[in-house]
Symmetry: C2
Subunit: 341 residues, 2 copies
DNA sequence: CTGTTAGCGCTTTCAA
DNA sequence: TTGAAAGCGCTAACAG
């Protein structure tokens, strides 16, 4: 069997209490004693049993991360960054994937993280009242990525502002008939961006004296295939748009494909801008609104850990908003285009 | 504070041992007693403390999943499927992302899963001797996804056979000058597919009496951008290939982009086939070799859990190989093409 | 079928 | 600065 704290204590000639203190770097341990303990632990290849430690201390050293999906670009980036940040802080990551409505309902009903995490991070979910209540019963710091919630720490971008910038970029290029491909605000999974990006887009048009045309707002469901179909519908209109704002790069990729299949050139026939700055956007020469996903994930995770460290079970709501950035590439600017005509 | 087992025992008028048995569904509990316990637990909204249970039983009800990357299609699918399977079995998922060589070295040195998992699943990694030894010290069932290892349960596909089928498909279409875009067999991260897919590709050519031409084998590093550049290099050859086999769909997507930028038609000028059947392959009308990622992940996870359940710390090596399937789309078959010419 | 009693391997007072 | 001892909240014999 693996060595226990008693083995180390015996070997170092001290009590188990001293071993515990020495190994955790607590003060009030003589340097010589600490060295002896460290040496003994190293020789025995000792690691503390996390479960015993958790039971005794009440701290789990684990953070729960809740995502609606795993296999989408944004969430992959989030999981990656959160995992890295937690790992460096010596925390474990407990991952919960909602998957669909049924999974979401089951999750909030059973609250499977009860008694097993020090903090919870929710990624890009618009939470209902009862869902928030369920999380609050956990009695630990709560974090939200992508939008604010009362009683949550949050880190996000200004989706509306980003969408405005995208629309304004197209307007500045002289476009007046601008379409958007977006998520479904009524999607039962209620993920964050749809509502706000749509809103920002519309406000930019209105400021330019253009009344948003419902026909020019198509649903792409945040998938490539959805973006393709939405673009097909736009191109089937009697008067097609001269520019398209896709509320995510993945939908923009689908739009590129659709435009190609229709024999239309980008940006000469139709200009296109996305949102996210997906790794693939550069390759496809897609203009976009860049959002810093790893930075957001790192920021919220770090602050959540700080709250745990401070023993602050209900930290005051603090919302951090990170900037987005317009990235102009060939899909809107012909002078930069690497597309074939 | 949350209710403990004693609260439930008191409320149900039984001992804590009975509560434990009743709640875990053990036999030898009178139905009436069980009902009373269940009712009391429900009223108190009781859930057992996993840490106390783990400490007492020695079982962690947790499986460690080790992946080299998170933000790649294959691994996203794997994480998703493993998480779902574990969740349904009441197990927690502990996710470890290697990220790069340094992270990989750190992982195998510290073995951060020691004393915290009942089984370990390694995704698509070619393990070195010392890495295998490190894992064996965990003394729990080990699983490998994507290739076999001694002393591991494994589930994979026959990468070589899949690649052969891809090459044979191109040969059957009359192509003789066939290129491949693959991973780097010398990649320090040593992920699985590169070696075998390359091998299968070459053997198919040889059987057709064609000696593989090193110039026609380019590295795409399993990324879209890498695939694009590899394809650029192929098209820059004095005599360009008439068909390309990309060892992953993501690299094939890059190749599609490259071909487009060169003004070449698919499949008229250059035929293209990928490997994986990425969700996007259908949208891009890409022929490919379909591999069942969720099924593989589910199979290995289920068998790993069975070994845990059986208390079988060193289950005999059993390698399951799931079939791949040729999916013909427009990128190789002009008659099915939806591409613009 | 049910209760009693030891632990599981740590952390954390409290004394010394 | 260190040690003794009392738990943390369960599970698992062992009796009865």
């Amino acid at each position: 069997m693996a060595a226990s704290i008693e083995d180390v204590a015996r070997r170092a000639g001290v009590s188990i209490a001293t071993v515990s203190r020495a190994l955790r770097g607590l003060p009030d341990v003589a340097t010589a004693t600490r060295d002896r303990v460290l040496a003994a632990a190293a020789e025995l290849d000792y690691v503390a049993s996390p479960f015993a430690a958790r039971l005794a201390s009440g701290r789990t050293n684990t953070v729960g991360l809740v995502v609606p999906f795993i296999s989408r670009w944004y969430f992959g980036e989030v999981i990656d960054a959160v995992e890295t940040t937690l790992r460096m802080a010596g925390f474990d990551l407990l991952l919960y994937n909602l998957g669909d409505e049924a999974g979401r309902a089951r999750f909030f009903e059973r609250m499977p993280m009860r008694k097993r995490v020090d903090a919870v991070l929710i990624a890009s979910l618009v939470l209902a009242e009862n869902e928030i209540d369920a999380l609050l019963t956990l009695g630990c710091p709560l974090g939200s990525l992508g939008l604010e919630h009362d009683n949550f720490l949050s880190t996000s971008i200004d989706d509306a502002a980003g969408a405005r910038v995208a629309a304004q970029h197209l307007l500045a290029l002289g476009h007046r008939r601008i379409a958007t491909i977006g998520g479904d605000p009524d999607d039962p999974m209620r993920i964050t961006p749809p509502l706000r990006r749509r809103e920002g887009f519309r406000s930019a048009l209105r400021e330019a004296g253009i009344e948003p045309d419902p026909q020019l707002e198509q649903l792409g469901y945040f998938t490539l295939a959805g973006g393709l179909e939405a673009c097909d519908r736009l191109l089937a209109l009697p008067e097609r748009p001269t520019a398209i704002f896709a509320e995510s790069d993945e939908m923009a990729f689908g739009a590129i494909r659709s435009l190609r299949l229709h024999g239309l050139r980008v940006p000469e026939d139709v200009a296109l801008i996305g949102f996210d700055d997906h790794v693939t956007a550069e390759v496809l020469d897609l203009s976009t609104i860049r959002q810093p996903v790893p930075a957001q994930a790192h920021d919220i995770t770090t602050r959540l850990l700080a709250a745990v460290e401070a023993g602050d079970d209900e930290p005051p709501t603090v919302d951090v908003v990170l900037p987005t950035e317009l990235v102009v590439r060939g899909s809107t600017d012909p002078s930069r285009s690497v597309y074939q005509s």
